[in-house]
């Protein structure tokens, strides 16, 4: 989205290095993410795209041996700074994982989990409303409205993933990170999620890691290509797919390696 012809940058990463123990996984990543756009991160397995994604909501903190260097600036604030409150950060930046991971609770409780933690609803009615809007936004409401109090784990794979998306948007995040959200799903469920992503970008900035080139081309406006821990090339999806500057990018996109 452009305002006065200037691209609005939501996330600005500067010189990001990531280490797992002694092994360096990411080298000097400089990548800007545009607001209210879908940015796809592509690259062969083990290239560091998921690691980069997990830097953006500090999920790498969970891994003991992982260290992150460099600056990641979101809303003029460096999230790697000591003063950053991870709880607030993750409220602003939601995440959807590769395998659907609904909590072993009811559908309702899955959605109300985040709002409860962050104290977003004052009454039962407010919570009901949050649950309903989130499920509607995730295009799941019609399918589950009659069984909100049944376990979320009883849904089909595609429904579970949409439940996870609904869970992520329940706290109204500014950014949603998606780590290969369709890799465990069939083509029909994938198409539903892709449609949903397109819908969600009105209100959220979306970053999606994907192995499917076709998916990146379908859903994203910007694309970054990672290889061996380095960001080889990034730019508009059109340009990356039709007219890449780097030979490696071209080789990967045309399926010559990876």
């Amino acid at each position: 989205m452009k305002k006065n012809g200037v691209k609005m940058i939501k996330i600005n990463s500067k010189n990001v290095d990531v280490f797992y123990g002694k092994k360096q996984a990411l080298f000097n990543i400089n990548l800007d993410i545009e607001e209210n756009q879908v940015t796809a991160l592509i690259g062969p397995s083990g290239c560091g795209k998921s690691t980069f994604l997990r830097c953006l909501n500090r999920m790498n903190d969970v891994i003991d041996i992982c260290r992150v260097k460099g600056q990641i600036i979101i809303n003029d604030f460096d999230i790697n700074d000591k003063s950053c409150d991870v709880v607030r950060l993750r409220e602003k930046i939601g995440m959807v994982f590769q395998k659907p991971n609904p909590f072993p609770k009811t559908i309702y409780e899955n959605i109300s989990y985040g709002p409860t933690i962050h104290g977003m609803a004052q009454s039962k009615n407010e919570m009901d409303e949050i649950v309903e809007t989130s499920l509607k936004k995730a295009a799941l409401w019609e399918e589950v409205k009659d069984r909100l109090h049944e376990p979320g784990t009883g849904l089909s794979g595609g429904q579970q993933q949409r439940l996870c998306i609904a869970r992520a948007i329940s706290v109204k995040p500014e950014v949603i990170l998606m780590d290969e959200p369709c890799s465990a799903l069939d083509p029909i469920a994938t198409a539903q999620i892709e449609e949903l992503i397109d819908e969600l970008k009105k209100d959220h900035t979306i970053i999606i890691v994907t192995h499917s080139m076709a998916q990146a081309a379908r859903v994203s406006q910007n694309t970054g290509f990672f290889h061996l821990g380095e960001l080889i090339e990034h730019g508009s999806t059109d340009k990356i797919f039709k007219n890449p500057e780097n030979k490696k990018t071209q080789d990967y996109i045309t399926g010559r390696f990876g």
């Binding site: 969970v62 950060l89 994982f97 991971n101 909590f103 933690i117």
Partner: protein, 461 residues
């Protein structure tokens, strides 16, 4: 002799394995495809060696003594002996043949003993001959039979299945046997003591039953007010309750710490250290409770002006709780660790803190396993014997004061069965009745646990 024969048969088994495999290799070298790997041919022959040997040994063990006895006692038939007397004669004969008979030796018995020895040696040598010849015949038959397309894999697999089945059957049958022995003695007990008196009586004083002279006729009325089990049931549950009050919080919290907070290094050392607690023999806990904790509590209590018995329920229950900590902590640690990382990630990504994640996601997901570990702890507490015998006293007081001494089902069984016992005496049978009730209690606990776990299971995946 039997040992040598057995060793020889085992060697024969190995040899037939070797021959079977060699024959398979020979077949293979003629470029014929085998239906199974060569070792299956070997196992096949070994089975043909083992099964006949096993059958003959079992038949021999069953029938040899009976036949020998019949032959010996045939000399005494038509002499008007009673069955009991014949048995006595046979036992005397056997003892004499072993050189262990100390009584008066009559010529009759001496002759029988000699006959017995000769019969035994005939039996022994014929056993060797029969076993070896049958084994060799069966192995030879099987050896001739195997060819490139004979089915050796299926019989071997079937044999393994039967062996494994027998093993599990042995365990199950033993359990059933134990339960039946409990049932019959318990029924006998309740023929003398009314069930009502046992279940609702509040006075347990089995020492009263010592007084009876076994030659006197059994008079049920003298046992009224002797076998009222309420005090010891109450004591059992009371001490178990104290133990669980110690074990559940400490065990659970240390389990959660180990699984969620401890670094890999701390966990590596802390977990085995906690599990050492589980390796301490309960008798050591027992004298720790009786000689260290009990007097210590008494001293503290006295200094505060409380009347504390040196053998208090608190000391026994507390130490028992410490004993149960490792069960709960180790099991709940395993259960919590096995909750998939993806659930933690999902919760953290929502902005939940560690303690919120544990409380709201991990704990509910792990709950069935945790309940299981707690119930395991409870049944340990109810079944624990040594600590209560040593630390909590043997007098069955009906009290809910943790500073007084009480007694438990297990401790009373020990009291009853220590020293001389007469079978068929209500005092001895009382132990079986107690054992049976203990068994029923644990059974109910397990059933309830299973139901609870099934109902509240939050399935992940």
């Amino acid at each position: 002799m039997n040992l040598i024969l057995f060793t020889f048969i085992v060697l024969l088994g190995f040899t037939s394995y070797y021959f079977g495999r060699r024959k398979a290799y020979t077949i293979q070298s003629t470029n014929k495809r085998l239906t199974a790997l060569p070792q299956f041919y070997g196992y096949y022959l070994a089975i043909w060696c083992a099964i006949p040997a096993f059958i003959i040994f079992s038949l021999w063990a069953i029938f040899e003594p009976t036949i020998v006895k019949l032959l010996i006692l045939s000399d005494y038939s038509n002499q008007g002996y009673l069955d009991d007397e014949l048995n006595l004669i046979y036992e005397k004969t056997k003892a004499l043949s072993r050189g262990q008979f100390t009584g008066e030796i009559t010529p009759f018995i001496e002759a029988s003993a000699e006959k017995y020895l000769s019969l035994r040696s005939i039996a022994q040598s014929s056993k060797v001959v029969i076993v070896l010849s049958i084994i060799i015949a069966s192995v030879a038959y099987a050896y001739k039979k195997i060819s490139s397309n004979s089915r050796t894999r299926e019989p071997v697999e079937k044999f393994l299945k039967v062996v494994l089945f027998t093993a599990s059957l042995a365990a199950i049958l033993t359990t059933v046997g134990i339960v039946f022995s409990l049932i019959f003695q318990t029924i006998d007990f309740f023929k003398v003591i009314p069930l009502f008196d046992f279940v609702f009586g509040t006075h347990w004083y089995p020492a009263k039953a010592f007084v009876r002279d076994s030659s006197e006729a059994l008079d049920p009325t003298m046992y009224s007010d002797t076998f009222g089990a309420v005090p010891i049931f109450a004591g059992t549950f009371f001490i178990a309750f104290i133990a669980m009050c110690v074990a559940i919080p400490i065990g659970l919290m240390s389990g959660i710490y180990l699984a969620e907070y401890a670094s890999v290094k701390v966990r590596q050392y802390a977990k085995p250290l906690i599990e050492i607690l589980a390796g301490i023999p309960t008798v050591v806990y027992g004298f720790f409770a009786a000689l260290t904790v009990g007097p210590f509590l008494k001293e503290i209590g006295n200094s505060m002006g409380l009347d504390v018995s040196a053998e208090s329920a608190l000391a026994a229950g507390g130490v028992m709780g410490i004993m149960i900590i490792p069960f709960i902590s180790s099991l709940s640690d395993d259960v919590i660790t096995s909750v998939p990382q993806s659930l933690r990630d999902g919760s953290y990504a929502m902005g939940a803190t560690k303690s919120e994640t544990i409380k709201k996601v991990i704990f509910p997901a792990a709950l069935p396993g945790i309940v299981g570990s707690i119930l395991l702890g409870v049944s340990r507490a109810i079944g624990e014997t040594m600590i209560v015998v040593m630390a909590s006293g043997l007098a069955a007081n009906l009290t809910l004061n943790p500073l007084e001494s009480t007694s438990t089902i297990t401790a009373q069984i020990v009291v009853i069965l220590i020293g001389d016992q007469a079978f068929g005496d209500p005092k001895t049978q009382a132990a079986f009745a107690l054992g049976m009730s203990l068994f029923l209690v644990t059974l109910c606990l397990n059933i309830v646990a299973l139901r609870v776990v099934k109902k509240y299971r939050e399935k992940y995946e």
